[in-house]
Each structure stands twice: as C-alpha cells, then as structure tokens.
C-alpha cells in the first residue's frame, strides 16, 4: 500500500528546464509546489568542480550525467511491422538525469524559432500548394504565433543570460555588419549579453560563408560573454572556452542551467520542495479519467509514495512525457493504421549532416580543444523557408554552422578520409591533424510522418516492471533529399576555406535510422500542441485536452522538428503556459480552450 504525502497545490514531474521554470512561476503565483526528480541532486559544486570535472572518460565516455538506461530505455524499430529492440547503450541521443536534467550537460545554443516553422502546414500550403506536402507527412501548425511568444523568448533569454547579436529591435536594424542574422525575426529588446568571441574555426567559416554569398551571424549562446546577474538574482561569470561543455557541468558558472539560473531563487522559497531520487510511475486519475488526483512515485528506498495534487505538470523530457501519458491513460493513444488518437503522434527528430575540413599544419591552428557549447558562426540562407523550395521538392530547412564546443581526444580524434582507424598511419594523422581541422554541421529540421510514432513496447520492461516506450522511426525520402541538398550547399563554404581534405558525412539514399551514432538529443512530438483535440494532445497552453489539470511542457509539444535547437522554444512555451495557468487557469480551473 502506497504511503500518501500531504497534498500539494502542484506537483512537477522532472526537474530540468521545463520543470524549473514551472516551479518558479507557480511558487511566484503563491502555490505550494513539490517537484519530483528521479535522479540525484547535482550542482556546480561538487559535481562540476574543477579539476575533477575535466575528465572525458568519466563524463562523456562512461556517461556520468546521462539517463541511467540500465533501468529505463526506449525500444526502437524502423517500421510498423518490425519487432523493436531496446536501445541498450546510449548512442543517438543522451537524455538527462538528476536535478537540472539535460539542462546541466547541454551545450547552450540558444535560439528562438523561425516564425514559419510555427505555421508549418499553413505556410507550405499557402506558398507551394497542398500537393507539395508529400503523402504521409503529418506536419501541423503549433497553434501559437511568434508574436504571441516574443515576450517569453525575451524573458527566457534574460533568465539564461544569453549572448548574441540582434538583427532588428522593434523594427530598427542594429545588427547589420556586426554579426546579426538578417533572417532572424524582430525582437523587443537586445540580447542580455553581447556575442562571445569567435574561435579560429568560426572565423574561417564566417569568412568563407561571406565569400560564397551567404549571410553569417553569431550563434546565440547561453554561455556568457561577460559577468551577468539574471532577473532571479543568479550570478554568472564569463565563459573561458574550457572545451568541457557539452556533456559536463560548467565549472565556471557560465553555462545556463536550471541549477545555476533558477534553483538558487527557488531554494529561498518556503512554498517549494524538491525531492530527488523520486521516480514517478504514473499520474493518478479519478474514476472518469477527466481529473488527475496526483502522482505515484518510487523513492530512494524503493517505497511507493503517493503525492496528491490539484495540478500536475509533466516536464520529464519529450519521450518521458509521452510515456507517462500512455502509462496513466491521459488522452487517446495514437494508432498509425487509422491515424486516430493523439498520444504518441508526430514523433520527429533532427536531420544532421557534417563536413570536416583538414588543413595543413602551416595553414591554420584551429585548436579544437578550445570551445564553448553554444558558441560559433552560422548561416540561415537555407534554413526554414528562407529560399524557394519550389524547384527542389522537399519540405524543411537547415541552418549551417561551425559550433566548436570543444573536441576531446578519446571521442574526438577524427582523421582525413582514407586514414585507417589504428596503427602508425592513424597515429601520425592524429598528430598531424588534431589541431588543424574544423567541423561544420547542417542541423536540419525534421518533419513528422504518419508512421513515425511512439507507443508502449509489448515486450521490454523498465526496472519497475512497466513497459518501455517504443519508437517506430525511420528516415523518409523527404529527409534524405533535404540533407543531401543541404550538404552540397554547405560544401561550398568548406571548399572556400581551401582545405587540404574534406570529409563529408551525410545519409545516402535508403539510409535507415542508426541508433548507435549521435544525432542530437532534440527529440520532438508525441504530445503535440494544436488547435483541435482530434489532432493534438494538448492545447495552445500545453494543457491536456482530456485531463485539464495536467499540463505538459517540453519538446513533446512540437508537431515537427525545428531547424534550430529546441530549448529556446521549450523555455518560451513553458513561460507562456505558466502565464496562462497564473492568469487564467487558477482563477477558473478547467479547460482554457473549449474543444
């Protein structure tokens, strides 16, 4: 029999960016908030302290900060008729665990969104006609506009202490010739910090991209270019390009994280309680399944505990949100055969291609151990719908960039094509090229399809005996055509650098999703937002259509994958949802949008 705790006004499942933002907003609104985090407490001290954190083997190779998949993983199959297999070793994606979630070990590229991508289906139909969208592609509009979200993007950047260069502020050009992005949407205020310095690799990219006629800009990064104090009073110091960023806790207090930027303020708040090692099994619903009564979790000692609450926030990361909804019976599970149901629908990802350029040792010293996770130079000439897709016949776009986040030698040695993987030749090439190379990515958007979806696996279980989440996912022709187009456009930049050799990594025709090679941890969809309960799981305020006292912030709400990295939009949508809870829901608990 589960022990029952004192009822909370709100319970938050998962304490990453989405959970921390919600916790702050809801305690500000006067609610008693309990946050449940399955992993341990972790923070700059001691987990991120120098020098012990500068340890590639422990952190990145043995995956210290990532989800413990011995307990819970996902299963993966390529098609609806295949048998899914568990993802036994982390590879394609690296979800977080513990206080701060993936917000502790993320890189910090901090974008807004291209407004077109919020109206994906409408925009493509308007510009190219309905027939342009291929059969089986299920892209949708988010149901919210850039203009509605702008104040929340703005505030999130101030909380994160983001460095960058604006293009226009209230319609006035401020970024021309200074590293602003001519394709960026208008802003109400400037970035809180100026852009960071650029590495040699980023400078080479900037120069070459200009030469080929593209429009390079400084990547907006949640790594600080100088000292900063955020609206919650959290203090950050300048990033020193330590190069142990992505996969690590920042020892310099320079990379935005829920732990650094939000938790200190929450700790002052008597109405807030954070319980770690609390693994939520399910949301409990009342008998007619229209109201959540709280959640049940397993504590550090293995005891089942019930936490009653009036409001339940699922902020457990994209695929955990979807799994918890399926395990709890919130919303109708999606069926790819009929296209009916919503939970699990429109699972989408990222569509990456990479080019590495190698230089002669006298040409350039790119010193790739120098880097910061969010830092670099990018072009948006082929992102979103910034170019005419008409003649090319695919949907989606891609920013290109050099984002030198820090390359460490165990995982990072990368030699020119044709070099063996071991032996004297490998060793000589490593010595000759490690500090004379750079890497650029086409960070492609990824569309959603009728048969790329999430449900519960019939066979494999987690450590608590509950079914694992099953991903049915493969690349489609649209994705492969897009990535091949993008890599050709990006190659022009690489060639303009006059490298000694180039290595192009791009998916060929007929490629299948490979679970073993890192893509990104930008997983989307499965509990998507929208305007119609028949085609979305949550409304435009991220409120479940079926169980209105459950809100589900996270990239699970994205109906398809963005060209940009997702966290800027996750944060803005979470603030937007919190505002709706504070200003509308608490006054009159019930559906905020009538179905």
């Amino acid at each position: 029999m589960a022990t029952s705790m004192k009822k909370a006004d709100a319970v938050i499942v998962g304490f990453g960016w989405a959970g921390a933002i919600m916790a702050k907003e809801l305690t500000e609104a006067g609610l008693n908030v309990v946050a449940l985090e399955r992993g341990p407490m972790q923070d700059t001290y001691p987990e991120g302290s120098y020098p012990q954190v500068i340890d590639e083997l422990t952190y990145n190779i043995r995956r210290k900060l990532f989800q413990d998949i011995s307990k819970e993983t996902v299963t993966i199959r390529h098609g609806v008729n295949d048998v899914a297999l568990p993802n036994r070793q982390l590879g394609a994606f690296l979800p977080g665990n513990g206080v701060g979630g993936a917000g502790v070990h993320w890189s910090g590229v901090h974008f807004r969104v291209d407004p077109v991508e919020l109206r994906m289906r409408s925009h493509y139909e308007e510009r190219y006609g309905k027939k342009f969208i291929p059969e089986g592609m299920t892209i949708q509009d988010f149901g919210v506009t850039y203009e509605e979200l702008e104040p929340y993007f703005d505030f999130a950047e101030k909380v994160f202490g983001t460095s960058g260069t604006a293009w226009t502020i209230n319609g006035k050009n401020v970024g021309e010739g200074k590293g602003g992005n001519p394709f960026a949407p208008d802003r109400s205020t400037d970035f809180p910090l100026v852009a960071q310095k650029n590495t040699i690799s980023a400078q080479l990219f900037q120069k070459a991209a200009t030469e080929v006629g593209y429009h390079p800009y400084n990547l907006p990064s949640a790594n600080t270019s100088g000292p900063y104090t955020n609206p919650y009073g959290a203090q950050m110091g300048p990033c020193n390009f330590c190069g142990f960023c992505s996969g690590y806790v920042c020892y310099m207090y320079s990379k935005a994280s829920p732990n650094l930027n939000i938790l200190p303020a929450l700790k002052q708040e008597p109405k807030f309680e954070l319980r770690t090692n609390a693994y939520v099994l399910r949301v409990n619903l009342d008998s007619d399944k229209r109201r959540a009564t709280g959640v049940t979790y397993v504590d550090a000692q293995g005891q089942e505990i019930e936490q009653p609450a009036d409001l339940v926030i699922l902020s457990a990361f994209q695929f955990h949100n979807v799994r918890l909804m399926l395990l709890s019976g919130i919303g109708k599970p999606y069926d790819p055969k009929t296209g009916e149901g919503v939970v699990g629908k429109n699972f989408a990802y990222q569509n990456m291609a990479t080019i590495k350029a190698y230089f002669d040792k006298d040409a350039h010293h790119t010193n790739p151990f120098i880097g910061a996770g969010g830092n670099g130079v990018a072009v948006d000439d082929f992102n979103a719908d910034n170019f005419d897709h008409g003649p090319h016949g695919f949907v989606g776009g891609s920013p290109f960039w050099v984002n030198q986040a820090g390359t460490r030698p165990i995982a990072g040695i990368n030699n020119p094509p044709g070099t063996p993987e071991w032996g004297s030749q490998w060793k000589a090439a490593a010595a000759d090229y490690y500090t004379h190379q750079l890497s650029m990515d086409a960070h492609g958007a990824h569309q959603s399809y009728r048969d790329n979806y999430l449900d519960l696996d019939p066979t494999y279980k987690d450590a608590y005996g509950q079914p694992l989440l099953r991903m049915t996912f493969d690349w489609k022709e649209n994705d492969l055509r897009m990535t091949q187009f993008m890599v050709e456009k990006m190659k022009k930049i690489a060639e303009a650098m006059n490298p000694k050799a180039l290595k192009v990594s791009v998916k060929g025709a007929g490629s299948h999703f490979n679970t073993a090679s890192y893509q990104t941890t930008h997983l989307n969809g499965g509990a998507i937002m929208g305007t119609d309960p028949k085609t979305s799981a949550v409304n435009k305020y991220l409120q479940s259509w079926d169980v209105p006292n459950v809100f589900v912030p996270g990239a699970s709400a994205f109906p398809q994958g963005l060209g940009y990295n997702p966290t800027g939009l996750v944060a803005a949508l979470t603030y937007w949802s919190a505002r709706a809870i504070r200003e509308q829901y608490l006054k009159n608990p019930g559906p905020l949008v009538q179905a």
């Binding site: 190779i61 390009f241 010193n367 071991w422 490998w426 490690y434 500090t435």
Partner: protein
C-alpha cells in the same frame, strides 16, 4: 613559442627513462608463451623504445590474456618514430583497471532480454555479453584463430602477421564461435584509445604521452586568451592531479 614539448624533448625523456629503468618481464608472460609481447614487437623495430617499468599485476586478465593484450595494443597504437604508443601509455593497465568498474559488468547498459544477436547494425549493441565477457571469449577465440592459421598464438606472430590478423577481426571476415570478431575488435580498439587519451588518474596515458602526441592540453581548461589566435598552443598538458608534462 615554447619548445618544451618538442619531439627531441620526448625522445630525451624516453632515453632517460630507458637508462633509469630496466625492462621488466611481463607478469606471467613466461607462463603464456615462450615469447613475451614486448620481446616479439621489439624484434621488428630496433628503434623502438621499450616499455617503461610496469609492476602492475592484472586483477582480471589471466596470464595468457595479459600477453595477448600487450601484443595487440602495441599494434593498435604502435611505438614508432612519432613517439610512445599504447604500451608506454599503460593501456593494458588501464584496461585491466576498467575491468573493476561497473562498465565492465555491463551495468551501464540495458541488459534485459530477449536478446537478438542477429539485429542489423543500425540497432547498436544487442548482445548479452558484458565487456568482461567479450574479452574473456574474444581473446581466447583470437588466439585460437591465430593458432589454427599460423600455428602460433597472437603474441608470437611477427608484426605484419599480427596486423593482418587484426584487420581480419576488424572487418568481421573471421567467424569466432561465441561472439562476432568485430564486436571484440571494436571494444579492444575503443578501450585502447581510451587508455591512450584518458586522464592519467585512470591508469593510462602515462606521462600524458597521448596528449603530447596531438598537443591536447589536458585539464588546463581555460582558454580565454587563446580563442582568437591562429597559432600553436604552446603550453604542455597538465593532468587532473596536477602533473605537468
């Protein structure tokens, strides 16, 4: 620019360590085969510096396995004109020490069945075997294969034949009975690179030889003044425990 890290300096170091430290016989090597790994590889390259002193006693590997491991990692990252290789870096010690961590038991991985050993490579690792078991079965199979092909164990072969055998394992052309040769090879190569480039506190990368080879500064992790400079980074690496190369 500092020349502290120049190749001459490195050779100097090796020469000094050679004169200071006598070459020791590998623990148990004599039990395993008439020829130790070091002796066999020393034969075909007289210029090679011998391994530094190693009084390390393996906890996991048997004498036979230990001999194989030395011989194999010495080919994967050889000692050559570019400087020290896997042996000087202490890669065997590193790998043996890793066998005492949770990684080696497979407890960082999802290891519930059913297992499908015939899954397509896109599904990643799908075997029931832990890294420890991969070594136990893989080394025996590799030595066995060498014995069938050449009448000798791996460590007794000359360098060219050893390389050819490793290539066969790498390509998966060889069929081992209990696990794919490629799985074994991939793990061995991965662990070898780990042992060559990890922080020395893990038992590998001794004297930071891996980092010096490529000019990686180790745990310095502060490059504020170097971000915009297109020049060689002049400072030698430091380790987490504060050793300076």
């Amino acid at each position: 620019m500092s020349n502290e890290d120049s190749p001459n300096e490195r050779r100097d170091f090796l020469r000094k360590s050679l004169t200071l430290i006598p070459v020791v016989t590998l623990a148990g090597a004599s039990l395993a085969s008439p020829l130790s790994a070091q002796e066999s590889s020393a034969k075909h390259d007289a210029n090679k510096p011998a391994a530094p002193a190693s009084h390390y006693e393996p906890s996991y590997f048997t004498a036979e396995e230990w001999t194989f491991l030395h011989a194999a990692v010495a080919r994967l990252i050889p000692t050559d004109e570019r400087g020290p290789g896997a042996i000087e870096a202490g890669v065997p010690e590193y790998i043996d020490r890793q066998m005492g961590t949770s990684y080696a038991n497979g407890s960082l991985w999802y290891m519930q069945g059913p297992f499908n050993a015939n899954a397509a490579p896109e599904f990643g690792y799908q075997l029931k075997l832990s890294p420890k078991e991969v070594y136990r079965l893989g080394i025996a199979a590799a030595d066995n294969w060498c014995h069938q092909q050449h009448g000798k164990l791996f460590a007794q072969l000359d360098a060219a034949t050893q390389d050819a055998a490793l290539k066969q394992f790498e390509s998966g052309k060889v069929a081992f009975e209990q696990l794919p040769a490629k799985t074994f090879f991939t793990q061995l190569l991965q662990n070898t690179k780990e042992g060559f480039f990890c922080d020395p506190m893990h038992g590998g990368n001794k004297n930071m030889v891996g980092w010096k080879l490529i000019n990686f500064p180790g745990a310095r992790a502060d490059f504020m003044d170097w971000v915009e400079r297109d020049e060689r980074y002049p400072f030698p690496p430091v380790s987490i425990r504060g050793e300076r190369a």
